[in-house]
Amino acid sequence: VSAGGRSSARPAPPPSPGRWRAGRLAAPKARSVLLVWLGGGPSHLDLFDPKPKAPVEYRGPFATIATRLPGVRFTELLPKLAARSDRFALVRTNVNFNGGHRPAGSIGLTGAVAPGGEDAGGKPGRYPPNFGSVLARHRGGAGLPAFVSLSRGPIGDGVGPIFGHGGGAWGKSHDPFMAACSDDGRVDIPDLQLLDDLAPARLTDRQTLLAELDRLRREADQAQFRHWDGLHERAYALLADPRARRAFDLSREPDRVRAAYGRTSFGQSCLLARRLVEAGVPYVQVNWSQYVEVFYPFSDYGWDTHADNFGLLADWHGPLLDGVFSTLLDDLEERGLLKTTLVVCLGEFGRTPRINAIGSRDHWHPCYFSVWAGGGVRPGRVIGESDPRGEHPATEPVTPAMVGTTILELAGVHSAARAQLGVLEGGRVIDGLL
């Protein structure tokens, strides 16, 4: 295993739940982590790292605009984020170690390059856990799930899911709790869909829930019940908790707030993520992938703009990201949550600085960006610099292991705890970010 990770074959030690709430440990700077995953690979040159002086076959058609940081410019697709650039830190030297969506996604979400990854015919059960699974295991949880992933399905590409999306070698019990959020704010929980009569809308109180469960137990044979009981235990526990039900209910949000996030799946998912953070969920991952917003049929991977990169970014991706992410930052700040919520926004890689033969951009893992805000991050700075064409870092590269180490460190999973859990040992935080 490279990149600071550790072999997933090593048996995981027992959980070491944090007890900072009880005062036994110092509170972490980030009580919650909100990861916005731009699946598919957003173009760094067309968003946060423009190269207007590069040759025409590199630079792209977008002009640059000033930000609140002297000398720092974004493309004109991000005017709102440019106006908020003093609220977040930008890393321009992220690197990954694979150019395929699934292996790069696994590396990006676990910090580790495991042998036998997706491209080598590996299996999810051999893979290291997602950062969210690590934090969830460290913190534990009561009532609300500790790691929620917002998506209509498993994140990945047309070939299959990203192995690093969940618990990996720790087992399915450490996978994220999945929920889908539609553009109208409707929340679906896949684990509940096997039982038609047990829709969340009917479960107004615990008594109703228990009555329904009793009925189902009577009607289902024991084998069936054991099956879904194991799979859906967390889902029903969630439904039994009024606080959790409220957290997942976007209808409780004023129309003004829902409108501010926008009537898109990505926008409403970010609003749901804010509600979950507010309710105390330690780790929420919002996935912009083919299961959130789709602009190609059949094989759209979110930001995987092999064709018509510039048209799609100008019309759809750029404005959506700029508007929704700005609203998210504003909302968290206005509610006093930004200080204790680490917000990270990145994809698995960037896109080719050199425009391809059909006027678009392909995968590029040697250099891309990430955005960091709140939760102990020092805002208003740019970490690292890419070379004049945006092809490689000109300063120290930031690896996925450094991303994961920084996230976990801010969330209170310090080196000793990581060593105990067997993840990201020897990793170090991103210089200048904290």
């Binding site: 076959e57 058609p61 002009a63 697709l77 005017p79 009537r263 190609y296």
Partner: protein, 336 residues
């Protein structure tokens, strides 16, 4: 050109869904690409007098973008997601119920933003295929492909002049997107704008009477990125100098001339666009004090512009001199 006060902008939609590229199907109906669900962008048609929006192609499950119609309303073109992730151009004869499909060569190539020639015999469009991002044209049967540009950078969003002799388009050949014009056969390319920011999606005035040049055939307008402005310019930059100030007064606008451009006109009726400009534009063509320079409602815009900004608003106006002048429609609920 209209000189009377315009009717106030009339909002046509309230659903908050993202909409782009409105086009007049008739004098009383607009077609627009709408993000109707997380997994579908579809072309909807809606009457300018109200009423529910309806899908133009209800049987299609793939994304549809960029509706366009011939001046007589007989023909319809749009971009359609076909396979992974190619986009083809669909050309329909609405009268004879015939359909032709143009498929680019490369499996990932795209054909976007079609525009009919005034006589309805050809369609210009942006073709992203082997050879780069160029302007091309086809006959209405999807044949006789002609590449009209062969430059570096990206070339996109063609628009025929009312007399069909010229095509305005946007190109990044010299840096960021600027507006250019060329003869309809691709020759005689000239750059019209020299501004920071995204100048794209040009459109021409309907009657072509505004120009003071005998050889001119119309006025070009385009959208300007985050600034949410429409740029109105004569076809020939050199013809602008003498008449620039007078024309600006005639338009009833508070304007500021830009290099090679007759006037930059903000669209204050769009509250969302205003807010975005006031709060978020770091640098705009009007400079840092854009908020204080907010002009009065732009009467002339009624007859000038069919534009769709990439990020801030969508607007529609009269098309090809048909029907009533339509008030500006704020098609977006949000300021992005």
């Amino acid at each position: 050109m209209a000189s009377s006060d315009p009717a106030p902008p009339r909002r046509l939609t309230h659903d908050g869904r993202r909409k782009l590229a409105p086009a007049f199907r008739s004098a009383r109906e607009i077609a627009v690409a709408v993000h109707v669900s997380p997994t579908l962008v579809a072309i909807l048609r809606l009457g300018i007098e109200g009423g529910p929006a309806e899908r133009m192609h209800p049987s299609l499950t793939a994304h549809q973008f960029d509706p366009a119609f011939s001046a007589d309303g007989r023909r319809h073109a749009f971009a359609l997601s076909a396979t992974s992730p190619q986009m083809v151009l669909v050309l329909q004869d609405l009268r004879d119920k015939q359909e032709h499909v143009f498929r680019p060569r490369d499996a990932r190539a795209t054909a976007r933003r079609p525009a009919f020639s005034p006589d309805g015999t050809r369609v210009a469009f942006g073709l992203s295929d082997v050879g780069g991002h160029q302007i091309a044209s086809l006959n209405v049967e999807g044949k006789d492909l002609r590449l009209l540009t062969s430059s570096a950078g990206l070339n996109a969003s063609p628009a025929y002049s009312p007399d069909g002799r010229r095509i305005a388009f946007s190109s990044s050949r010299d840096g960021d997107f600027e507006i250019y014009v060329m003869d309809a056969d691709g020759s005689n390319v000239r750059r019209l704008t020299h501004s920071p920011g995204l100048d794209t999606r040009p459109a021409w005035s309907a009657d072509g009477k505004r120009s003071n040049s005998a050889s001119s055939s119309g006025t070009v307008a385009g959208s300007r990125g985050v600034f949410a402005a429409a740029v109105v310019m004569p076809r020939s930059p050199s013809s602008a100098a003498s008449g620039r100030r007078k024309r600006a007064r005639h338009l009833g606008q508070r304007t500021r001339a830009l290099a090679g451009v007759e006037a930059a006109i903000r669209i204050p009726a769009l509250q969302s666009g205003q807010e975005m400009c006031a709060k978020d534009t770091i640098r705009s063509p009007l400079g840092p004090n854009a908020r204080e320079r907010r002009p009065p409602p732009p009467a002339s815009m009624r007859a000038e512009v069919v534009c769709a900004s990439f990020s801030s608003f969508a607007a529609a106006s009269q098309a090809a001199g048909r029907g009533p002048i339509v008030s500006l429609a704020s098609l977006l609920e949000h300021d992005w």
